[in-house]
């Protein structure tokens, strides 16, 4: 229910045979989340491209499960994808491309673009799929509500610290006033990665990547999905992630 917080044990679906009193899953703090990422790149030799592609695909898949195109009340299944200046924004670009392939009509707003081949490539891939890039963010929340059935928040991720720089402060302010559902990638943007943010963005969906972070404990929306099904078993054990099993070959898992 909205407004109620899940007690820690309720974040995981019950696993058959898990005894009572089993250790609760460890929700990584910011430094741990960063350490896991680093290990995936330096020890396991994953490339950022590989993991970002799998992460973005998870996000699009979770969205398709919770908000199928047929459920939209707008004339087209229009989705606004707001991409920030870092990797969370990159996840958003991948997500937008897969949403297009799943039959949605995404539009991207990407005001601060790093001049790195990874992000330039992802941008080109979206553009070549005829995904429009909005030069300006909709000025009014009411306009967003009218034009889009869903907003994807790909602004800030788990590395976010400190003050929110423009234009993202204004963007978040407008999003906070919108009533259309918001799906946040990994961390609701503007939230403290561990403590959350009482007066900030209240997304309807959270897609936690790799493992839910501590901030997820403050999530009050309807849909919490886990994505990023690439964590090697040895790494899961090392950080005691206790991730629940994904169903079959799905790349996402809906959490209670």
């Amino acid at each position: 229910e909205r407004g109620q917080r899940c007690p820690p044990g309720w974040l995981w679906p019950r696993r058959a045979g898990v005894p009572k009193g089993a250790p609760t899953p460890s929700l990584p703090r910011q430094e741990e989340a960063q350490a896991i990422d680093q290990e995936l790149f330096t020890e396991y030799k994953f490339s950022v491209d590989q993991l970002m592609e799998l992460a973005g695909l998870s996000c699009a898949t979770a969205i398709a499960k919770a908000y199928p195109p047929s459920s939209f009340t707008t004339s087209q299944p229009a989705v606004l994808v707001v991409c920030g200046p870092g990797n969370n924004g990159g996840d958003g670009l991948v997500c937008a491309r897969h949403l297009k392939m799943f039959g949605y009509e995404p539009a991207v707003h990407y005001p601060k673009r790093p001049s790195k081949p990874l992000f330039e490539g992802l941008t080109t891939q979206c553009q070549k799929m005829d995904i429009p890039f909005l030069p300006e963010f909709p000025a009014e929340a009411a306009l967003i509500d009218e034009l889009y059935g869903l907003v994807v928040d790909a602004i800030f991720g788990f590395s976010f610290k400190g003050a929110v720089r423009e234009p993202f402060g204004s963007i978040l302010g407008t999003l906070e006033r919108a009533t259309v559902p918001i799906a946040s990638i990994d961390i609701p943007s503007g939230w403290d990665v561990e403590k959350g943010k009482a007066g900030g963005l209240q997304p309807d969906m959270l897609i936690s990547l790799t493992a839910p972070k501590k901030a997820a404990m403050h999530f009050t929306g309807r849909y919490h999905f886990l994505g990023g099904r690439f964590v090697p078993p040895a790494l899961q054990e090392k950080y005691a992630l206790n991730l629940p099993p994904y169903p079959g070959t799905d790349c996402v898992l809906q959490l209670a």
Binding site: K45, A60, G248
Partner: protein, 197 residues
Amino acid sequence: PPLLSQAFPLPSLPRKQPTVLVVCGPAQNGAIGLVCARHLRIFDYEPTIFYPKRSPDPLHRDFTTQCEKMDIPFLSYLPTEVQLINDAYNAVVDAVLGAEAVVGEGREPCAAILATLKHVRIPIVSLDVPSGWDVEAGGSGGISPDVLVSLSAPKQCARRFLGRQHFVAGRFLPYDVQKKFELNPPEYPGTECVVAL
């Protein structure tokens, strides 16, 4: 890998352990096999890799490291005694040669691998092109896969495929590329990345 699960779902496997042998050639097809093996491991299969001639490409070397760090065993040799393969594994993923291969050169170690695979009795899943087949004309006397996964779009030789299931994995192709090459891809169900033809 999702297609392997569709063609060979875990509960249906004949052997007690969900073992799969993934045979990887020296070029791109082999690299795709490495990625496939990694995802099979994530899906709770028990892949074993045979990768005798390793590509020097840094990307492919990283794929190898990822598999090693996932505790996927790499065989040091492929038994010529075919019964050993039949007994140990539920299926073989043929990622030896793809569309870029030049047929008839008989280069080792691929020729020896293919000579062995021709005689296995467990199902073979070929990636893109059944190894040893000519990409246009098809194969005669070569391996006969049970399942073919065409990558991007089926190749000409797919017309000669006589196995049980033919999948296409090409959902990532941008629309203008599909149009330009007149690919007319089928509809992919839901969010699936493969579709059975």
